[in-house]
Symmetry: C2
Subunit: 204 residues, 2 copies
């Protein structure tokens, strides 16, 4: 199943907004602005201007500014969970599955959903507790994919550290790439994935 097909399926199920529609365009611009200036410094006037409407009109689509932030986060988790599941399902061996997960997460962080993924990391404190709890539920599904694969890699004898700890170290390592990695900087995503795998001493 291609990435486009996965996205279309999620749109059809109303789990993710169509990027070509009004709501989807707003979320895309919101992710960009929140990423660039921070959620708190991005005003509703900024958001409205980015999609070419007046600020009061935003409140027709979302009840509050915070609901926009939450939607950016929820939708990117849903999309990337599906993409990672698909990447992982395409291979069999535990080490290959781990490599596929690393590659897919690097792509989520440095590709189309990079801005939303950065918002997930950097704007967590601006969410209310209720919203944080809702986002964490989705996040837990995503994290379980990782833990299952890391456990399998450890059981196969390729990893000496604890899967729980490794996952969290990898979360930081991969999330931080958003601050320094440039696809046109001479290192492809596959090359970067190779570096991560090599740093872990898992290279063949």
């Amino acid at each position: 199943m291609t990435q486009d097909a996965i996205l279309r399926s999620l749109i059809a199920e109303n789990l993710v907004s169509d990027p070509a529609g009004a709501r989807g365009r707003l979320l895309k611009e919101a992710a960009r602005l929140f990423r660039d200036k921070g959620y708190e410094r991005t005003t509703v006037r900024d958001l409205a201007a980015a999609v070419g409407i007046q600020s009061g009109s935003l409140f027709h689509h979302f009840r509050t500014k915070e609901d926009i932030l939450k939607a950016v986060m929820v939708e990117t988790i849903r999309l990337n969970t599906a993409l990672m599941q698909a990447a992982m399902d395409a291979v069999d061996a535990p080490r290959d599955k781990l490599r596929a997960l690393i590659r897919a997460e690097l792509e989520s962080i440095n590709g189309q959903t990079g801005e939303a993924m950065a918002v997930l990391v950097f704007e967590w404190r601006s969410l209310s507790e209720d919203a944080q709890a809702a986002v964490l539920e989705l996040r837990d599904i995503y994290e379980q994919l990782w833990l299952d694969v890391l456990e399998a890699v450890k059981a196969a004898g390729y990893l000496r550290a604890e899967p729980f700890v490794v996952r969290r170290l990898l979360t930081g390592a991969l999330s931080w790439t958003v601050t320094w990695y440039r696809p046109d900087g001479g290192l492809s995503l596959d090359g970067l994935t190779d570096q991560v795998v090599a740093m872990m001493g898992l290279a063949e």
Copy 2:
């Protein structure tokens, strides 16, 4: 040289504020509040209340709110650069130096300066360009320590990935520990350091 002696020396040279003094107490509380609520959501009224004065009085010590943020960052970099240099100087072999750096950075992130270190990561966008440039100058000194050691470890044959990339992946991995590591969670700082070293395939 002990950590206390290093701190005292920096205070004497006016590179770091005395934590017992008015300015130092304010910076300590600022780091805590900025970490917990975010810089933007922390008002000058919050800061003043945290140290028991009225908000207008803050402007006697600092010209602007942003100058407080900058001082939190600048002072923690200065302190931690000195602490890491000392930790590294206490050992000889490249792998031991790398381990010492990892241990020292984990301590900076999860110990006394943890709040300020988190502010350095999460509040970068709230700094003006001038302030960012000033902070980066100090940051570059700190980063060069790491790159020198990683180059030595690679030259000794223990690392296959590129030092530049590894440093950045480690920055993320170690910085992220601020969100999940708890010293009373059954894993000591030394234990966590061992996990990082093991994840890198550098365990003995």
